[in-house]
Amino acid sequence: MVQKLDTLIESPSQTAGPYVHIGTVPTYAGLGGIYEQEIGDSPIADGAKGEVITITGTVADATGWVLRDAMFETWQPDAAGKFAGDAGADPAVSGWSRVCADPESGEWTLKTVKPGSTTLRDGRVQAPHISVWLVARGINIGLQTRIYFEDEDNSADPLLNRIEQRPRVDTLIAKRTGDGEYRFDIRIAGPQETVFLDI
């Protein structure tokens, strides 16, 4: 016998299911008005500093079929790389949002400010990115990924540099489609499967 650890283990995940919207985005599910204030509509308020950008995309399954029920959350720092709660962070950037696929087309849109770079405790610098946590029916544990930007210098990013198969890096990089506009498609499996993270 050995001493007993007094630590606990994380509760097991279960799928968010097809009706995740009821609990997270009630108006989308048809429950508008149940809460006075819903949360997550936008990661920015008026007056947020930095470049306002719009990212558009889809979430596809292993067959290439676009999910109509996908919901993901995003988390990011402000344009200076400070997270909400950090000293000096932009008060107009909550940095967190919920994004739903359109129930007809499956396309989603995120309007935010381009995040700044952030520094790890060992001094290495992370290229600007938005963290994503994706849940839906059929996803048994939320999928983590990141949105980087094609027009930033991603060459020294510690996470991107861990990806052995270099063509896969591309799955984490939003493509510029216009002034302040980007495209980012997530593929859960199949050709060009998005890189997902255990982080």
Partner: protein, 242 residues
């Protein structure tokens, strides 16, 4: 100053397998290539915080919140309560919990639910609250019905309540489900079975808690939730190799 030590890596052995053919939808919705593992960064060690100012007085009362208190929902009245803890066995205070569920007949109020069990005009099906200083939370709700769903030939979900918890770091984000003690459908459910170890699935089954039940009013079920913790040793703040 918030604690921004690294998160303890996820133990994926006790989480559900992503690809589980008996749960058919998971087949095309699970990655086929390995996840990239890395120590957490500020992107995962920070996260959104929510204040009580966002919440309404009835937000954690699913019996009354849909009608704003005008008429109660139909069903067996149940108190769902417990604590949110982290892997270091410490309470997680001031964190947002959201729940959603079917009504007593097993029907969700959702544009996509077409099961013919009737909607309850007095039941919405979602609630939210913030844990107190000791990580405690409470919801008053009705016991959700079991319901059939399209998967294998005759598939029924056990009674369950969906739960979303934030913690204080985006890397702690968790959605899970609470099952009810004694429900025979748990053993037949392919979604519950995505968790390989029965001892881990048992952690999602809430016991009947008569000590918290209120006579002539509601039964109670206790459900504690554990989120990822942070490494705590005094060496965490030193540079590697020093």
């Amino acid at each position: 100053m918030t604690d921004q030590s690294p998160l303890i890596p996820r133990n994926r052995e006790m989480h559900p397998v992503p690809y589980y053919p008996d749960y058919k939808t998971s087949v095309a919705r699970s990655p086929s290539l390995p996840l990239i593992s890395m120590e957490s960064t500020p992107s995962e060690e920070t996260g959104p915080r929510f204040g009580h100012n966002k919440l309404g007085a009835l937000d954690n009362n699913l019996i009354l919140n849909w009608t704003k208190g005008a008429a109660p929902a139909v069903g067996e009245r149940v108190l769902m309560h417990g604590r949110v803890l982290d892997e270091n066995n410490r309470p997680v205070p001031n964190t947002l919990i959201e729940i959603w569920q079917a009504n007593a007949g097993g029907r969700y109020r959702h544009i996509k639910d077409t099961y013919f069990a009737p909607l309850d005009p007095n039941f919405g099906g979602c609630g939210r609250t913030i844990t107190d200083e000791n990580g405690r939370y409470e919801f008053l709700t009705i016991r959700p019905g079991a319901y059939p769903w399209p998967n294998r030939g005759n598939e029924w979900r056990p009674m369950h309540i969906h739960i979303s918890v934030f913690g204080h770091a985006f890397g702690q984000r968790l959605i899970t489900q609470m099952y009810f003690e004694g429900d025979p459908l748990i053993d037949r459910c392919p979604i519950a079975a995505t968790i390989r170890e029965r001892s881990q699935l048992d952690r999602l089954v809430a016991p009947l808690d008569m000590a918290s039940a209120r006579p002539m009013d509601f039964l109670a079920y206790k459900f504690d939730i554990v989120l990822r913790g942070r490494r705590q040793t005094m060496f965490e703040n030193k540079m590697e190799g020093m």
